[in-house]
Symmetry: C2
Subunit: 103 residues, 2 copies
């Protein structure tokens, strides 16, 4: 999905990463994605040209050779620009989501 130019993702640490920085982690092979599965959508709200969504992904990936199986929860904000929904902002939790807490 497209991103606005000032898009950033807030990492679990509280530090930001740009789309370019994230792509760089893939390009360097430090980060190797195996799968990313949508487990549950907690909320979607659309207000005209602005929307936000909250969901948990099951992400399997290797970081510098170590495999991670994360259940991470995301809050994402989208803006509709000329008919295309673009990511405006994203914040990702640690990979420790307990799905029973969302029931």
């Amino acid at each position: 999905m497209a991103r606005q130019e000032d898009f950033l993702a807030v990492r679990p640490s509280g530090n930001p990463i740009s789309a370019k920085g994230l792509m760089g982690m893939f390009d360097s092979k430090d980060l190797v994605a195996e799968s990313s599965e949508l487990i549950k959508t907690h909320k979607i709200e659309i207000y005209g040209e602005i929307a936000y969504a909250v969901f948990t992904l099951n992400e399997i990936f290797s970081y510098k050779g170590n495999q991670n199986k994360d259940l991470s929860t995301y809050t994402c904000i989208f803006k509709n620009v000329n008919g295309t929904w673009k990511y405006s902002w994203m914040q990702r939790s640690q990979g420790s989501t307990d799905m029973t807490t969302w029931e």
Copy 2:
């Protein structure tokens, strides 16, 4: 600040807590707040009745007797209801934000 009825905060773990649940932590004295200082606002965007803000707080608090000094980054979504801005949603990072990464 007021909250919408379906407000939840996503904790660093990825698990949610309701406003009532958060208040319960204070009421039980498990959580004792000392101070909460706004260190930096990274972004504020307002689109009519919807807004979002991203900022880092320096929070000093005790949890079950152990003092924490956290630099936590928040993504918050607000909705204007009859002239009052209300919290719709919030996600909080770990307390490990490195402010130099936001420069």
